[in-house]
């Protein structure tokens, strides 16, 4: 039995470091901006420590599966739900609405390209 929590991996073998430069995707920049806005002194809806705690609570499987900013947005989402800043219903409906809009936009774009 290990007493080490999954995220606490300092000193473990991790393979080679990828040292190539890469830009961030637009959604990753948005996640960064959302977290910064939530953390401002006027709002104080999310602290660095809460964000970290939320990432640590994702569990080993999800932690390994998600990339850096996916962990951030998952943690931020869970903490905002916990605090009642957004409700499950409100968030679910908004996500469905955006997904529908996104699908429609892609279909329109595809048909415009064909004609």
């Amino acid at each position: 039995m290990t007493l080490r929590r999954h995220h606490d991996m300092g000193g473990l073998d991790a393979g080679p470091v990828e040292d190539s430069e890469h830009d961030y995707a637009m959604w990753e920049k948005r996640v960064d901006a959302i977290v910064k806005v939530l953390s401002t002194p006027e709002r104080k809806l999310l602290s660095t420590d809460e964000l970290r705690r939320g990432i640590e609570e994702l569990g080993p499987g999800v932690y390994d599966e998600l990339n850096y900013y996916e962990r951030w947005i998952s943690s931020a989402t869970n903490i905002l739900l916990e605090k009642g800043v957004v409700s499950v219903d409100e968030l679910g409906r908004k996500m469905a609405e955006i997904e529908a809009r996104w699908t429609a936009d892609r279909e329109n774009l595809a048909s415009e390209t064909r004609s």
Partner: protein, 96 residues
Amino acid sequence: MSTKKFNPGDSVRVREAYPPGHVRTPYFVRGCNGQIQQFVGSFANPEELAYGRDGKPEMQLYRVTFKQSDVWQGYQGPAADTLVIDIYEHWLEPIS
């Protein structure tokens, strides 16, 4: 303001504790002996901030030096190599 328990040069041992919540003391250094290098300051407790509380009372933070050979089993580098970690007072125990 609470008073400081340690001074630079004091020998300390990191508590060998494994609480379930959010902690800032790395796993690999728990149970290791080190030496206080400097007092960093008093800060809101991150173990409390992580759960949306105010982190009061503030905790004393120290910069602690460890010999690499005391941290890693079979360390191959130079014997003088050290590692410095910021650790909160409640994670440190005095060694006489």
